[in-house]
């Protein structure tokens, strides 16, 4: 193992920071929901890597350093949860009910689409836990015959998509309630959706953080049943 940080790693971190600051400045200036920091920031980094013919392996050590902060950063979610503790208690049933329904719909609709589309069975299983955070998804996919690393890729794709179109979809449905918006973003797009919810406001962030935890646990519990259901449904063709 290398005991030093190479120049390319430092450059990759600085480049990612630069992309983040540029996209964030754009977002703060225009506040448009499609100006998604994660999607646009990552797109900028990918374009530079591909443009200069730099393989992902060069970026990977930098990615490892930066993503090691996700753990402590998500632990910090306990703070908004604590500030909204009375809301959690008062609406415990509403929270449980909607997150349960959402976790089921997320798994079932995705699995059904994947099956109808004729994807191989292991890909169908890998895509089903796409709405929960990576450690949950890897466990679930591995347990029922999916491919863990592919499951992780679907989790990231869903997180990026959810933070990109989540707020906009909820606007179209006229869901303005910060409580419901936060729950929806956290249930569908785990920590990435929670990060997007935090940009909207603290209540959204607190609810998304709670939904992220609940959705992970509920999805793991529902998985054997929903996987069975999706694989056994008679599909035409």
């Amino acid at each position: 193992m290398q005991s030093y940080v190479s120049i390319s790693t430092v450059l990759c971190i600085l480049g990612t920071l630069l992309a983040y600051m540029a996209v964030r400045a754009l977002y703060l200036r225009y506040k448009h929901p499609l100006l998604n920091i994660v999607a646009l920031g990552a797109a900028a980094v990918i374009i530079v890597l591909v443009g200069f013919d730099i393989p992902y392996a060069v970026y990977e050590p930098a990615s490892k350093i930066m993503t090691s902060f996700i753990g402590p950063a998500t632990v910090a979610l306990a703070l908004p949860l604590y500030r909204y503790r009375l809301v959690l208690l008062r609406y415990a049933l509403a929270i449980m009910g909607s997150v349960c329904a959402g976790a089921f719909v997320a798994m079932f609709s995705t699995g059904l689409m994947a099956r109808v589309g004729g994807l191989p069975q292991e890909v169908v299983i890998s895509i089903m836990p796409k709405s929960v955070s990576i450690p949950f998804a890897i466990e679930i996919a591995g347990m029922y015959g999916g491919i863990p690393s592919l499951a992780a890729a679907f989790v990231v794709a869903t997180g990026t998509l959810g933070s990109l179109i989540g707020g906009w979809t909820l606007n179209l449905a006229h869901v303005a309630d910060p409580f419901a918006r936060g729950l929806a973003l956290g249930t569908v797009s785990h920590a990435q959706g929670t990060a997007a919810a935090l940009q909207e406001g603290e209540e959204q962030g607190a609810m998304a953080g709670l939904a992220l935890i609940l959705a992970g646990i509920i999805t793991a519990a529902l998985a054997p049943f929903v996987v069975w259901l999706v694989l056994r449904l008679p599909v035409l063709g």
Binding site: V38, G118, L119, E139, A153, V156, L161, F179
Partner: protein, 129 residues
């Protein structure tokens, strides 16, 4: 200077909580990610008053404000899977988009309706918007 030390000290507390929880999950095989246990533990510490809000709030607020940054490199990792996304292209896209939009609407609409119902039961008025 004092502020900087306070910030670093608070970061160390959060990182320590995460590493401790992550270690417990690995050691015991608890079926949950380390960061989820970390949230639950810190939440309980705050509730019991063992950790006070201002013991961690400077670092926590900073991390929460910039949490999206840490997901930029995660999304960059998607470039490795270009092949799979190319092979199954639009089916995957449809499955992921439908599988995101439907539950978003489910949770958004149901969450709003159930919260309203709870409010009305306690005699408050609620405009379901």
């Amino acid at each position: 200077m004092k502020e900087a030390w306070k910030f670093l000290w608070q970061m160390a507390i959060l990182a320590g909580l995460f590493w401790g929880s992550d270690w417990v999950v690995r050691a015991t095989g608890l079926p949950m990610p380390g960061n989820v246990l970390g949230i639950v533990v810190l939440f309980l510490l705050l509730l019991t008053g063992i950790v006070k809000e201002d013991h961690i709030s400077t670092a926590a607020n900073f991390l929460l404000k910039h949490m999206v940054f840490f997901f930029v490199p995660v999304a960059v990792g998607l470039m490795q899977w270009g092949g799979v996304f190319y092979d199954y292209g639009w089916i995957l896209l449809v499955a992921i988009v439908v599988g995101a939009v439907l539950p978003l609407l489910t949770v958004g609409l149901l969450g709003r309706a159930l919260r309203c119902r709870a409010r009305r039961r306690e005699g408050e008025s609620c405009n379901p918007m």
